[in-house]
Symmetry: C3
């Protein structure tokens, strides 16, 4: 949590006092094994704002991988050409693997359904900026809470601050998984409708319900339609409700909300640039390689990088639990 | 017209006295919803020559659009990451829409068959540089004058200067549309052969005849072959005839002309870098957002961005005519 | 050879004393008509390390070529936008053609199966750095010696230094072609097994055997398996054997060698950045255009750029032999 706060502080500092020469002559590599245009461009913008340069390696153009090269070798290579790396991968633990073998700092820009820490940090930065605090908040998450990695991570992060209460609002088939609820120590409610609680909310965190999750187009329309908001919501909400969304949106927030002071989703996206600047700036000053605590049986998570690359059964201690060194499961 | 001349002046200034730090720490976004490698690379080179940086968003990689995001949201996002935007789109009025919603300057790098103002400006800059004037010229346009946006725009621009005469030389099925002719107040002739008039021309503006426009490959060959020039043309032309072409060429100008002082098409392409530098430099100093004059019925142009994005019926006054605020039709 | 040594000296200088402003405000164009991610990224990193900028033109996105533009026109265009060019092409002699028509320095980043001079230079730089000399070495090449352009070029380069002996170790169907052997004046042996000679080797240069070269998957496995090394090799080798590989590898070197002081293949890849910095730095200071010696019959090499672009039969004198000006065959 100290780490989180120091990143938020640094982001605020960089928002107020840009440092366009801080990482001059440094090169960021963006290694994206799966596409995420928005995250990538946000990292590029952040590096440029600090005076640095960028080399992009995208999955589609990665011919060495096509030639049969291991992910580890590809990462090693990019580490030789650059000074810091942002990595996105469908395989859980890829960023951890990179930080193990490279001598340069590595940032996890999302690994599969597992983690996306820079998104969580920009969400926290936005809440802090809009509300002046990260504790004693009433927060509603609305939409796809089952598959939404963003929601899971932010809920866990908010759990580290006292007095927060979360409302998980979704159709039953899209509700927050019980293993997430079990991991939370804060107060929460699980609901199907948002109207009744809106009068108490400080933060409304909207998410996109994806058509791909439904077998039937009609089911999707009915379901998604119920969790679409427009300007009318301000009539039943607190006057200073702040509406967040990780974007892109596809109809769940009407454009007639965009120009209201309650809509902060675009500001939130811009905050991503400051937060990523802060992370890169801090890592370039102080970077330690992670070390595993022992070797035992192979991790059983089929999506873990240790399965794909044959990395053995390295484990580490996470709050007293023995978890896989790579995917932390 | 004052605007045009100030851009040409600035371009000349930057050609003679490069300013490699003018836009240091500034970021250009190139948002190309349809490919145009040459225009994009020219913009990138121009931004680099002013000390700036570039973030590229190409249609093919634009995954948020694929996820169902609106063009407006995509543009908003890119506006948050960058300081100035060059935008290319198949939808007419997209650049206007961008300049309406973004707080940063937006440059139209071509929208459908509608406008491509930076091409026209570099054509004018080239004529000015080669001839020392933009008035009292005899100009021949040759090739595809029907679909050639470049020709339509340049003809209209030359109409703003006195004493110019234009010769539209094309096969009947590729001739200049009458609505373009009706909009011109300068003197012009519509011809099928170029040989007879070549002795009087100051400028020969060649264009590519595209095979895709023909149903029959034989028809294309016969037609295109008639409008191909080589070194022989210099025997019947003014000695100081200057030959322009927007490029790429595919046979309409023989390479044996390339090393003659009459061939200025490559110099013309290089001028594009100076002109785009000038536009970016001026816009970064003085940028005002466009404002519409009123709201009425929806624009009927099926290619207009206001149809695709549901933007309502905004109109503006253009020389006494009520036109669509976005596509200006 | 004087050229080679001055490049290696400059690379060493830049490795020890980076010059992050040497090419400030200069633009490199990477023109890759066929993909080679690793080579391209190495050039980009090198240009960034010297303070310059990069414009990329990739084959896939090159729409002007798709419109029927000649390679020569595409190259001319890129030359107008940038200050130095690295070019990769499946057509032999493309870089030579570029250097003939452009006013900026051009670097050959590989043309078909013909040449890849920057790879050879980084191999030499690595050997020099690891062994302190380029002469009186015993060098084993192992793997695909038939199609491996890298091997052919490095063998010829090592032939220019006295006292070197080369061992070509490969399955019969992958052995070094006799026309290469005929061109060498140094001592060499052609072998099928590496075990017996390993005790004398200073350098072991491994290469990848490609499955695509085999009709039968079983044949490939049997063949490739025989030329895979792991840590065991150090038991039969000189203690200070250095293992090189142009990368990517796909199994021919076990990862248990990676952390040994004998494995220098990753260091070798990093050396590519220094060598490419050196080449660009030297070329930006002193660049002369190549001139052909005469015109005669057209070159008969079907892969030569002079066939594809209709460039006539230009020839030059190479060590007393009349060769094609473009592909040097």
């Amino acid at each position: 949590m100290k780490d989180i706060l120091s990143i938020l502080d640094k982001a605020e500092e960089l928002e107020n006092n840009p440092k366009p020469c801080e990482l001059e002559n440094k090169i960021l590599s963006t290694v994206f094994f799966e596409p995420s245009t928005r995250t990538k461009l946000s990292f590029i913008s952040a590096m440029y704002r600090l005076g640095g340069k960028v080399i992009e390696l995208d999955g589609g153009g990665n011919n060495s991988l096509k030639k049969g090269e291991t992910i580890s070798d590809t990462l090693t290579m990019m580490g030789l050409y650059t000074d810091i790396m942002a990595i996105r991968s469908p395989h859980e633990g890829t960023a951890k693997r990179a930080s193990e073998i490279l001598d340069i700092p590595v940032i996890n820009a999302g690994d599969g359904a597992n983690q996306h820490p820079t998104q969580t940090l920009l969400d926290l930065y936005t809440i802090q900026k809009e509300k002046g605090r990260l504790d004693n908040l009433e927060i509603a998450f609305v939409g796809d809470l089952k598959y939404g990695r963003t929601v899971h991570s932010l809920a866990k992060a908010l759990d580290k601050f006292s007095g927060n209460k979360i409302y998980f609002i979704a159709p039953p088939e899209m509700q927050i998984p019980s293993y997430i609820l079990d991991s939370l120590s804060l107060e929460y409610e699980v609901l199907e409708d948002y109207e009744t609680v809106m009068k108490d909310m400080d933060i409304l965190y909207m998410t996109r319900i994806q058509e791909e999750r439904f077998d039937d187009a009609e089911d999707f329309k009915k379901c998604a339609g119920k969790y679409q908001i427009d300007k009318e919501i301000l009539k039943i909400s607190k006057p200073d409700l702040k509406i967040l969304h990780p974007l892109p949106r596809v109809g769940e927030i009407h454009t007639n909300l965009d120009s209201t002071p309650n809509a902060v989703y675009f500001s939130q996206a811009k905050n991503g640039v400051f937060v990523r600047q802060a992370i890169m700036s801090l890592l370039m000053k102080d970077h330690t390689k992670p070390v595993y605590d022992g070797v035992d049986k192979r991790c059983k998570n089929p999506k873990c990088i240790s399965q794909i690359e044959d990395l053995g059964g390295k484990w580490m201690d996470l709050k007293g639990k023995k978890v896989c060194f790579y995917c932390e499961k």
